[in-house]
Amino acid sequence: MPPAASPRRASLLSDDLVQHLIPVGQVDVLVGLPTLDNVSTVEPVVLAVHQAIARAFPRTRIALLNSDGGSQDGTQDVVRRASSGSADLLLASHTLRTMHRVVAPFHGLPGRRAALRTIFAAADLLQARAVVIVDPSAVDPSEEVLAALMREVLTGGLDFVGQAPGRHPREVPLVTQLVRPLLEATLGASFDDPLDQQFALSGAFVARALAASIWDDEPMRAGIDLALHADAIAGGFATAQLATRARTRVSHAARPGVRESIQQLVRALWSLLGRHESLWLDGHPAATPRAMALESAEAASPTWDTAAFERTFREGVHQLHGIWQDVLSPATVAALDAATLRQPAGLGLDDWTEIVIDFCVAWRTGRFTPDQLAGAFVPVYFGRLAEFVRDTATLDAGAARERLNRVAHAFAAARPALVTRWMAARASGEHR
């Protein structure tokens, strides 16, 4: 009898899936396809995976695992069909080996995180040297990108290869105004898009990630991609990011609205900072992911409705009166009020960094539920968004990118204050 210390976890892999994995055996690469209602896009994605393997890795031991998060739209049938019936399409270029395509039955845990965890556990079981997580919702999947992701881990000695989609600097403002600069100011580095859903990992990274607390931590449920990207940086792994075209993504899964998404993301972000606090408070900056060029594309500037943002900002700050003094320092409350009165309303960079730090510190004191804090954060974000969008409205891409650098600098400059106040919050006796 082994000692009681043995990890008797609940099964991560269903018996049915294990039965399917036994004939697969040890592989070099596991291609993981976490799906959730992707019926309209998944077929070309599966074909792209097959093409990538057939063209670039015909000799390598590869398995494709589709782990579904509970699709209702027949995604799994499409994957099954695309995998088995693709012989004709692949006639011109085929692999030497039997390629196993496993469709993991839904294991009763909905969502992307559960799907990823299944893929990770399977990769660990199959002792895969490389794992590629494929985005099932890209409308124009690229076999070159998939092959490059695979190659960099399998033969390039890297542990985590992400993508740097070539977007216009005015796009994904939640990433550019908050996630990226905050990660850079704390951990010391960040992927261009730490929320990207397509990346490749080494077996070593997968084993480490599987043992991390990100799978049971509630705030990480919706922030699993962020957690993996950040863990790769914080864990000192060899990382890189491939410059690719930004792809349009289509998903039929019921997605949360923008306010809910913002809340989910900031909760995950705070939880992440808390998890790595011993690392970033010490101030050993992590290495920046190595940049690799693959595709280049000029993206068009998106159009935003500034008036709506201003409205949300004004109304939110007004309605949530009574909450602000609990979360923010008196000076910041005054600045916030002033920002709503200005014409046009919006949050300048200095006020924004100050407020973000206030929120981080408030989270660390533990005097609020993360849910409440995240709820209060929503109107503030719209204040910043209004200002940023207006500020960059007439700028070309280069000048707009320069604005993003300013955000990064502002956060970097605020780092000492964040560290000091975070430590004070930690020392105040409360704990997370």
Binding site: M1, P2, P3, A5, S6, P7, R8, R9, S11, L12, L13, D15, V18, Q19, L21, I22, V24, G25, Q26, A121, A122, D124, L125, L126, Q127
Partner: protein, 546 residues
Amino acid sequence: MPPATNVDWYKDAVFYQLHVKSFADSNGDGIGDFPGLTSRLEHLEQLGVDCIWLQPMYPSPGRDDGYDIADYCNVHPGYGTLDDFRHFLDEAHRRGLRVIIELVLNHTSDQHPWFQEARSSTSNPKRDWYVWSDTDDRYRGVRIIFLDTEMSNWAWDPVSRAYYWHRFFSHQPDLNYDNPEVREEMWRVMRFWADLGVDGFRVDAVPYLIEREGTSCENLPETHEVIRTLRARLDAHAPGRVLLAEANMWPEQVRPYFGDADEFHMAFHFPLMPRMFMAVRLEDRRPLIDIVERTPAIPESCQWGIFLRNHDELTLEMVTDLERDYMYDEYATDPKARINLGIRRRLAPLLEGDRRRIELMNSMLMSLPGSPFVYYGDEIGMGDNVFLRDRNGVRTPMQWSGGWNAGFSAADPERLWLPIISNPVFGYQAVNVEAQRRNGSSLLYWMQRLVRVRKSSRVFGRGSIEFLHPANHRVLAYTRSLGEETVLVVHNLASTAQAVELDLSSMAGAIPIEMFGGSIFPRIRAHPYAMTLGPYGFFWFRLRWL
């Protein structure tokens, strides 16, 4: 230097035992030497072993295979110079290999200057470094170890006209450890080698250091005191060095030499070895389980040294008469193969060159509790020569290639210190390193993989062992566990295919992953786990709760 961070490196290490004089000869004099050994270190690095144990390499008249030392702070001129040794040590360390050397504490050669001085006159300051008596009736009743050659433990010295005490051969007078000067001098010797960078000492003939009237003069408390002092001084002066005891006794008798982790770090487990051979021949796990289960617990930082074969005979001292007769009948039908209370043969000839049995035995060696010792040449399945004197048949030159003198030496074959094995089955033209390096399915490559798999988990060096008791007695199965890691090992001891049902209900939910190939086996359930094994087949499974 190899990584010095972990002071208990020996718990995970795989050791490799070799004779300098049999390994590689660089200067064509027919005797192996340190430059030769240094040039062959790559072989050991590729094999994946962690530590080299050198047989005695001191200046010696050579009447007991070097265990009769004539100078403790030098190397045998035939093996090279002290500088050659230093260079060898540096090279080994550079490759991540550690080195432990022999240290004979109990006695010296009668040619040692200390004894020469001691016998020169009764008033010589070194006189009291040895044990003298005017009569031969002190310590009566103490057993004589080499009954074949010695009549008494006392020998008459015609020069100083007195008897001197010797537990081994009469040309090996015992040092007097009641004399503080002797203790101080032996510490000086240890410090000398430790300062050179040696990673530890295999201490020979440990139980006999002190004599007391009315006792067996073995395992006395005072002897333990000597060891404790040396250990403490070594730990303080050079941490991370290992002391390995040679004491051919039952494990419960050896246990005191670990002390409270303040005497030896390691000791050989002698009785395990013959029982591994016995179990395979009997096709029955019983002898093996018996001996492992009667092995007492040892302190956390201590470790057993286990081995299949070494430079001595396959000793049958630690078995019953019944067992010894069985072993002789099965493994030494030729009386020439028998010597003392044992069998002077190497691993491969003992197992009739059967690759499957060689692999099975090595699998047991590498998965049972303890740090394994591989005897040089056994990694390629070298043969032996029972027609050579004493146990020299298992000490013949290493077979490096199919060329001149098996690549061991450029000397004329007649000059070699021992003839090379040249029979058609185990001869150097059939069995040599070069040929096996060119063949991906050779025993050498298989051993290399075995060592690598063993080193992939610390469970083998540090984990607990629990035997399973399936109804089929031909199947030896056990789990090794350390913290969160569990490994299941299953051996078929029989020459025929076997089916077995293992009760693994306490591990229900785990998925076994075969460690050599990475294949996945069906998940373990509460009901018996059925398995089939080919002749002498075995599995190592890493259990994962996924």
